[in-house]
Symmetry: C3
Subunit: 139 residues, 3 copies
């Protein structure tokens, strides 16, 4: 069994941002030398998500509006978590809707994907350095 580990670093310029990281994951798979296995991609921070969906700018704006409706950023005082001095209570909730991680199949040394699947890093409390973990196992 082979294994591979890499961290991807992000520092978004806005509080919320959605980055297509599919190409970074493809590079990790090539680098790992694994041709058949599983690849875990997870946010290492608890106010960000990794998810798979369409790379279409309208949809990304739809997600952002919808998440803001399900768990609004303001009023800050709405969240007990913000009594700790944080202002990111909403980000912890948004991240649960979009998920912490994806597990993707590797077949023939490639991402085993459907036609429109793309891997995104979703930041809900950015403007600081945060990480994604890529862990691959297989042969």
């Amino acid at each position: 069994m082979k294994s591979f580990r890499k961290e991807l670093w992000f520092n978004t310029s806005s509080r919320r941002e959605y980055s297509n990281i599919t190409h970074d994951i493809e590079k990790c798979i090539l680098e790992s030398g694994v041709s058949d296995g599983l690849c875990l991609v997870n946010a290492m921070h608890i106010t960000a998500s990794v998810y798979i969906n369409d790379a279409e700018s309208g949809l990304i704006q739809d997600y952002d509006d919808w998440l803001e409706k399900l768990a609004p950023h303001e009023p800050i005082s709405h969240y007990r978590h913000n009594n700790t001095g944080e202002d990111n209570g909403d980000a912890h909730l948004k991240r649960q809707v979009m998920g912490r991680e994806v597990v993707v199949a590797i077949t023939g040394g490639r991402l085993d994907f459907g036609p429109w699947e793309q891997i995104f890093y979703a930041e809900f409390d950015g403007r600081r350095r945060k990480r994604v973990l890529v862990k691959i196992i297989g042969e």
Copy 2:
């Protein structure tokens, strides 16, 4: 390490539909010859989900009502994504609530499941051929 890959194909007769695929996954596990490992089951399309819950028809209707409340299909114009000519903006949101994938344990050559766990394919934009990927690794 053994690995196994199979695609399951669906073509639902209605826009939204929930199909119990537990038996198909059990057959894949038998066919793989893996007795201890992990099995990934994921939608290969971005307007469908794979999830685990109860095979109870009332609950399935509850899910459908609830998802339609969280992310209504209409008005179509509500979603920027639909400006591309699609009418499935809601389906991309519903899929995020229910999830893209499940990872299940294989022990003793069987699905290692609790008493009521069943694997479902949830279609939110059907009436066309779409796929689920089953990827198994183990020994």
Copy 3:
């Protein structure tokens, strides 16, 4: 390839409860002898979740309030599932928001975690014995 399996049992005193199980998972990893691999942690029941987020009491209350708003427990008659004699229709919905499982990386014989990641068992229909499955594969 090594594999390891263990069940963790819970019997919460209230209907909804959030338990930090990170230390239990760390013990499983040590016991498994796996230094590089993947660890699946999943609820074996369909009205409970395993998720990763912050061990902060205000946030946990925020989650509980938010889930109760997204899928209220009452009126019981609101859920078709409850026509079966159950009163846990809401719990099946709450569990979908928070997720069934997490997959975590093992590196150097330890949980490969970011600074604030903690694993929680979230019970939405407790006051009875229920289980979580830990399945580890690797080397």
